[in-house]
């Protein structure tokens, strides 16, 4: 039975040539789960906003959107409010921004019930509490009184799902519901979404750029590009034989952690260029009168060789960014030393010598935020040369050369950062980092904000640069698929500690730490034929303010035994990998 039908939906904004959505037609049956996939700017979100009646005032639209033969496109607010959220509800991408920071969780949800008279006002509170429990929030009474900032990202998205389901909708639209979340939390939220859908029989329109998510949660998939639908087929058929070139591209660029990739050989016998020796980072936090110490990074050691890439992976809160910043000197180390080519580096960047600045460079996560918006591309890349008084007579030439090497053509040299795409901006940031020919490059989530195909291009660029110049790279990421594509060795961090380090291939084939295995299990595979672990890792990363006794991972570990909650396992091992797990020897984990 048909529930939603779009006919020739076109959405156009003034001052743009191409419509955001162009003659889009598709339908969704009752109880069906449909994926909408495409890169950023392909019109996915615009489609969702059109269905919800949320297009901005300056959008021009035409066509038709019907739910049970009721026209939604162009309907009045009063008409729309009879449909949302009782028939159609939506979960947005960023749960932090989507919740009102000034209103308690309970009041935000209760308001929906009261507004639509979904229940007598006396029951609103208990209905809300019940819903908070249904979406898997522990201690609903407490969450009811909480404000959004007191909840973790995963919990906030659970709240958003609860809010969407209060009206018991026939169709749930989820727009990148897990993009802002860690991979283990993503697995939890997607499992919850599946369970709730089964329970309520609601249809699902899942919007995502992640083919892995689509492969396992949607019966049918629509591929969008430049506002048009390229394919609309069952997910199995689509993945087995994509007919459009775009889908083939997307599939090719999709993160692959189980399929074979070109593996990188560790450079043998290369000299150690950067040595991190027992570095720890802690912050003092004052709360009221009492001050306490947050141990972001526990003593951590690592040796990086010329031409080598070491990936540091972990969920948010694992301390990976604090470590990277400490290595570059952006925040001071509390103990331990960082040595570059055998000479000890000062703790902060301002105390380091010019030469060390040049040798250690960093690329940040958000390329637009890390480029000065008032400077032109060529000036941005030239700046390090000016600061270091280098190549005074042929600067333009050096700048042009290094921009061309990262794939930025002459036409872009005079542009400002906001005139670049995300991928181009990150290329510029990389050119700026590489122009002084550093020995070590530290990339902090450098491709996290980019689309799959662009990600792949940037990673290829870094690999090329490494082969050309012997650059050593520390690559901080939460994305295991990226790790696989770029690194020789991997360090897995959990609550400020390294829990496993291993050569890349070994880590993916034979993870030794249960946490590593859980991370691998949580990555959705872009292949609907692979059966994935159904029980995602429970809970969320603990608080570094009060870490658990023993192994930091033990409260979430299915394999924990008595000793795990008593003593901290040391990082030890023989051969190529090290692991901090009491049961590493006896367990035989494979992926």
């Amino acid at each position: 039975m048909e529930l939603l039908r779009l006919r020739n939906l076109t959405v156009q904004y003034p001052d743009t040539q191409q419509p955001a959505v162009s003659s889009l037609s598709f339908s969704i049956d009752r109880g069906e789960s449909v994926g909408l996939v495409g890169e950023s700017g392909s019109g996915k979100t615009q489609t969702a906003l059109a269905i919800m009646g949320l297009l901005p005032a300056n959008a021009h639209y035409s066509g038709s959107i019907c739910i049970d033969n009721q026209e939604l496109l162009g309907a009045s607010v009063a008409e729309l409010n009879r449909v949302r959220p009782g028939r159609v509800a939506m979960v947005f991408q960023d749960p932090q921004a989507s919740l009102n920071p000034y209103v308690s969780i309970g009041d935000q949800l209760r308001r929906i019930l009261l507004e639509h008279r979904f229940c007598p006002s006396a029951e609103a509170r208990s209905r809300t509490l019940h819903m908070l429990g249904r979406v898997g929030l522990p201690d609903p009474e407490r969450q009811y009184r909480s404000y959004p900032h007191q909840l973790s990202g995963g919990m906030r998205q659970r709240v958003m799902m609860g809010a969407a389901l209060l009206g018991d909708p026939d169709l749930l639209i989820a727009d990148e519901p897990t993009t802002a979340l860690d991979v283990t939390v993503q697995a939890q939220i997607l499992a919850l979404l599946g369970a709730l859908r089964e329970e309520t029989g609601a249809a699902l329109l899942l919007i995502t750029h992640d083919l892995g998510v689509i492969a396992h949660h949607c019966q049918r998939t629509i591929v969008m590009d430049h506002g048009r639908a390229l394919e609309d087929r069952t997910t199995h058929e689509l993945f087995a034989a994509p007919s459009s070139e775009k889908m083939q591209q997307l599939l090719h660029a999709a993160p692959c952690i189980s399929r074979d990739c070109d593996t990188l050989a560790t450079p043998a016998g290369a000299p150690v260029v950067l040595e991190i020796d027992a570095v720890a980072v802690s912050f003092d936090e004052r709360r009221g009168g009492a001050s306490r110490t947050l141990n972001a990074v526990r003593p951590f050691s690592l040796a990086l060789r010329t031409g080598e890439t070491i990936a540091i992976v972990g969920e948010s809160g694992s301390g990976k960014t604090s470590l990277a910043r400490a290595v570059v000197g952006l925040n001071a180390t509390t103990q331990g030393t960082v040595s570059f080519q055998g000479s000890r580096l000062a703790a902060t960047v301002s105390a380091r010598s010019r030469a060390h600045h040049r040798d250690l460079q960093m690329v940040f996560q958000d390329p637009l935020a890390s480029l000065n918006p008032a400077m032109r591309v060529a000036d941005i890349v030239e700046e390090p040369l000016r600061v270091h008084a280098e190549a005074t007579d042929r600067r333009d030439q050096v700048v042009a050369e290094s921009l061309r090497r990262v794939g930025i053509s002459e036409a872009f040299f005079d542009r400002f950062p906001h005139e670049l795409s995300g991928g181009q901006a990150q290329r510029v940031a990389i050119a700026r980092a590489l122009i002084l020919n550093p020995k070590v490059l530290i990339c902090d989530e450098a491709v996290a904000a980019l689309d799959g195909t662009v990600q792949e291009e940037i990673l290829a660029l870094l690999r090329e640069e490494q082969q050309r110049s012997g650059l050593a790279i520390i690559f901080i990421t939460h994305d295991l698929a990226v790790v696989r594509q770029i690194s020789h060795r991997v360090v897995v961090m959990y609550m400020g500690r390294a829990v496993e380090t291993a050569p890349c291939e070994q880590l993916f084939r034979r993870p030794k730490h249960p946490y590593t295995k859980a991370l691998l299990d949580a990555v959705p595979q872009p292949d609907p034929t692979i059966r994935q672990a159904v029980t995602p890792l429970v809970g969320e990363i603990g608080s570094i303010i009060s870490p658990p006794d023993g192994c930091p991972f033990n409260p979430r570990c299915e394999l924990a035994i008595k000793i795990c909650s008593e003593t901290l396992p040391p990082l030890s091992g023989n051969g190529a990998g090290l692991v901090a797990c009491h049961r590493a020897e006896e367990l035989d984990l494979t992926y």
Binding site: L54, A78, F92, L99, I112
Partner: protein
């Protein structure tokens, strides 16, 4: 903690005011006819003006610490504290009424403009607000007198010349006008920002009527910038009232401040300055505390 933090600010204000009053040419007892030197000496001695400046400052601070602003140099039989006590209630009434009017009209106009962004109404409100900000009180007030008192004869031209309640209407409006303009602009900007936020979009997706969205989601965050503005607004109304009281002949603190300044009545000018400084600092403190209470993200810190 916050209250202790205000003390250095206050000390600085007192010190600067103390020095600036002394820096003005002439003295409190200068007049057309020069006094005999021995009389002048006696007077200076009586008011401790013969002591070195630092000693005078310390003496003054010691007095303030026990709430004594010293005697007025001109109003011979009054202390500064007595003058303030007599004049302040009237000034406070004027200021409070003006502030209230500014809030009611400013917030309403700002909200109306924000909710009908880019409409004729919005443009009209924005244009009038711009005018209100750019035309100073000392231009508006006499113009009002000219139009409403002299030409139309609707309202009394001065406070002193009338006994009716309507003698405060023009002063209140004159004092409120620039504040109405500022508040309307501020409300408009913050309301537009909040209504474009993701959480308001979520509330729309949840089918909340615009009225409910404003009431339950938007009004509080939209009003917070206004709360921060209350500190500067109060300071502006206090200084504005000095002009308005002068124009309309209202015997409030402002009148005494101006006559004190003209007469080099050191203690009176200083006393009023310090008194107003205390009011501004205290109200700013209250605003800060209130802000912390209203924003849950600050509250839980």
């Amino acid at each position: 903690m916050r209250i202790l933090g205000a003390i250095p600010t206050l000390l600085l204000v007192i010190a600067v005011a103390f020095l600036m009053v002394r820096a003005a040419p002439g003295g409190p007892f200068d007049s057309e006819r020069a006094l005999p030197p021995d009389v002048e000496q006696n007077i200076e001695k009586a008011y401790h003006l013969d002591e070195p400046l630092p000693a005078q400052f310390v003496r003054y601070l010691a007095g303030i610490a026990v709430g004594d602003f010293g005697p007025s140099f001109r109003y011979r039989d009054y202390t500064v504290s007595e003058i303030i006590r007599q004049a302040f209630p009237l000034s406070m009434r004027l200021g409070a009424m003006a502030m209230l009017l500014a809030l009611i009209v400013g917030v309403s106009a700002g909200m109306a403009a924000a909710l009908h962004k880019n409409s004729m109404l919005d443009r009209l409100i924005s244009a009038v607000a711009m005018l209100g900000i750019s035309v100073p009180i000392f231009v508006v007030a006499p113009l009002m007198v000219l139009v409403f008192a002299v030409s139309l004869d609707w309202l009394p031209a001065s406070y002193a010349g009338s006994a009716g309640a309507d003698r405060l209407i023009m002063p209140i409006i004159a004092l409120a006008l620039p504040q109405i303009a500022y508040i309307a602009r501020l409300t408009r900007a913050s309301m537009i920002e909040i209504m474009a936020s993701d959480f308001v979009r979520t509330a729309r997706a949840q089918g909340l009527r615009t009225a409910s969205i404003i009431r339950y989601h938007a009004i509080k965050p939209a009003m917070l910038p206004l709360l921060s503005y209350m500190g500067p607004a109060i300071a502006a109304v206090l200084t504005g009232s000095i002009v308005v009281e002068q124009v309309f002949g209202i015997p409030g603190v402002g009148q005494f401040f101006i006559s004190g300044a003209l007469n080099r009545d050191y203690t009176l000018v200083l006393g009023i300055t310090v008194f107003y400084a205390v009011i501004v600092i205290v109200l700013n403190l209250v605003v800060d505390l209130l802000y912390g209470f209203l924003d849950p993200r600050i509250r839980s810190r």
